[in-house]
Amino acid sequence: MFHLTRVRIRNFRGFTDEQELKFDQPVVLLFGGNHHGKSSTLNAVEWCLFGENCVGRKTGIRERIGWEIPNRYVSGGSVVVEVEFKGPSGNYIITRELRGTGRRASGNITVQLPDGTKLQGEDAERQIYTLYHSSFQDFMTTVYQHQEAIRATLTQEPRDRNDAIDRLLGLSEYRELVRGIIDAKIENIYKAMGSDFEGFRQLAQQSIYIYDKEAKEKKEKAIAEGVEEETITEQEALHRTKDIGEAVISFAQDLGVSDLQITMPQSFGEVAPFREDVKSKIDYVWLSSPDMVKQTALERKQRELGSLIGEYQDAKTAEAGAQTGRDEFVQLHGDEATLVKTAKAQQENITEVEDQIRKSNAKANLVREAVQYLEEVVSDIDRRRCPLCGADAPQLLNQLKNEWEEKIKVEISDLELQRNEHQTKLRHFDTLKGQLEDLEGKLAKARSSLEECIKKVAAALQREIGKHDDPLALLNTQLQKITSELESRKKALEKKGEKRIAIFDQLAKLRTIDEILSLERKRAIVERIWDTREFRELDKLRDKASQFMEDVEAIKSSLAAAAREEAETKIIAAGTSLDKYFCRIANHPTIRGLALEVIEDPRTGLNSYNIKSNDGLDPTPILSQGDLNCLALSLFFGLAEVTAGTQPFAFLMLDDPTQSLWSEMKGQLVSVLEEITERYELVISTPDAEFKNLLMTNITKNKDVYDFLGWTKNNGPQIARNA
């Protein structure tokens, strides 16, 4: 067996400068407050032995996820932990180093054998395993009782407690693997694949339903229209095309077209183009036949004459209206000559009046100037004489003024009034003349339009139209003739047209049959997907995926079964030890015959643990945290006891084992430890002074105490040996 004798630590987690602790007594106590480096000291031993294996999620210890090895407050220095073991052949020194951090970190391990040989790297790792035959899980289960393991056991959550007990039993790797498989959720990917396939299947199914429905409806319609159900086949459709082709040629001959060529379909795929071809050929034959050409010409003539009748009637009406308008005007206002004559008379009147005005104006000027002269220029004496003849005329000025006011002014005013009246009349006649000219223009235009129309009628009727001919009557007579001819021709064509309609009817039926068969073909194409090579390959892939799922499930079940088997083996091995230690440490008044039972969690397949007492009941609901801690310690001691014979290590490490224990339990624990010291050396870390005192007092083996007095960022733990 291997005894732990010494550990040297530098830059590991909370440690800075190199420190060395010797374990040369059967019981070594690491005592001090929390965060003073006690647990790191124990962790350092573990890390030195197992390196990366004791770091990360795989350990099953939550605190180890993202666990930092180098002291984050020390820059540059490498981490070194050296542990010395005393074995049967001498001392073994294991030194593990780590340089750098993160991805650039590089490590080295050296094992110095008792003969001084030094092994490094993989050789050193192999040597460690050869020496101890111990995995990290074994070490954690039976050598190093982790603080975290106890904490997790104390939880009331079944899942967390199952995790913790798995960890106590060293089964975390199984659990992690099974959980990894569960978390991969492969079945979801498989389900998604199945769901995609199902979507595709449903789409195809839907398409078939739609094709079937449409085909059924069309078939019912076709049968209602006289198509026999048994003729709705490709073969019958081809026969039908032959009949239609012959009917079209016969129809063309009836209409006088003898050189019509029709390409007959050779396969069902050519039926649709055949239908289109025949349809356009029937139209061509129908429209280009002499009867039809003549009929078309007559119809065109009929439309032309009809249009001319309307046009002529409009022109005639317009001409009559213009004539009436002009005549009524002349009747009212006279013709152009009358208007000119009247205007001329008015002009003469104006000239005459203007002449009178001019004469009156001359007299008026004379009187006005005389008045002005008499009033402004001459003296009062001269004013009584005539300025021209010098004769006495005492009332001259007054006479002249009276003349001006009473005669001349009135006379001129009357004359100007007369002139204005004549001028107004003259302007009125000018306006009437203009209106007459407009009416004359309109009449001329209407007459011209009528003449043009008559020319058109003449051209349409292909004859001259004299003054005595009535174009409208001529047009109507001709139109009647054409209408009558058209009617007799239409009757003649109707018989030929019946053949055409019959062919179209056949074509419509052929089209319906073609559509039904096309739908059935499409349906068949969808159905054939399931016979394709691609589909068969897909089917094989689905089988393989299913096999993969089953394999994964089998692996998962095997792992879970192995974990369960191993758990059962260990629990059976721990057997009565569990109850023995629990009864001693917890000293519970009612719980006896405590046993652990493992079953499969039906949901996850993982281990699920039941704790039962001898009454067959689960005691956990009445267990205190202290009791649960006792249970965890009991399990650890039980497993350690079981493996005592095969255990390579001669020591146990206990990290803060008295969590939640009350005084009596601590005393009982010390008594158990006293017993254990017969088989193992103990390294115990505790912040519990009561527990320390109990240990110091009641453990009969030699003891050594390291006091962890404090911790600083720059110097790490302050440790004092206090033997």
Partner: protein
Amino acid sequence: MKVDAFQHLQQIRAKFGPGIFGKIAQKLLAIALHEAGFFDIVEREVQGADIDATNIMGKKYTLEVKTTDGESIPISRENIEALKDRTKDGYLPVIAALRIQMFEDWVFANIPLGNLRPGSFPLSRLRAYRIKDIETSVCPAFEVVVNQHCSGVLAGGEHYLSQVLAQKRSECK
């Protein structure tokens, strides 16, 4: 399964309901096994595995027949026991499951009985244990049988198929 056979099965189910339909499907499958060259066919209406059949190479199969609309089939403890029971006589236990959907076929799965648990069992899991040889011969035969006997079943129900089966058995003798 092609559309025609599927539609025929739908007609049968619509007429007789899901309970009787399951029995009819079992009988149709038994006839299909005859058509596919299997012999010594025993079709049970009550206790035990649903069908026993032996192929041309002399290999003996015992079938638990299941039809479903969904994506899983119900497996009972009796089903598992019935299959287990027949294995004592050298029969290979097989779950024959048909999802009644267009383009779905019978799946014949030789799933280890240890993997079967009473309850709902996903059809997708059966795929891993398919016996392709049986499927290749029986599935097309089943379609033919369904198309051939659909009108007979619709008219005479289960009784009609019992007569057909009896006739097949006498032909074999």
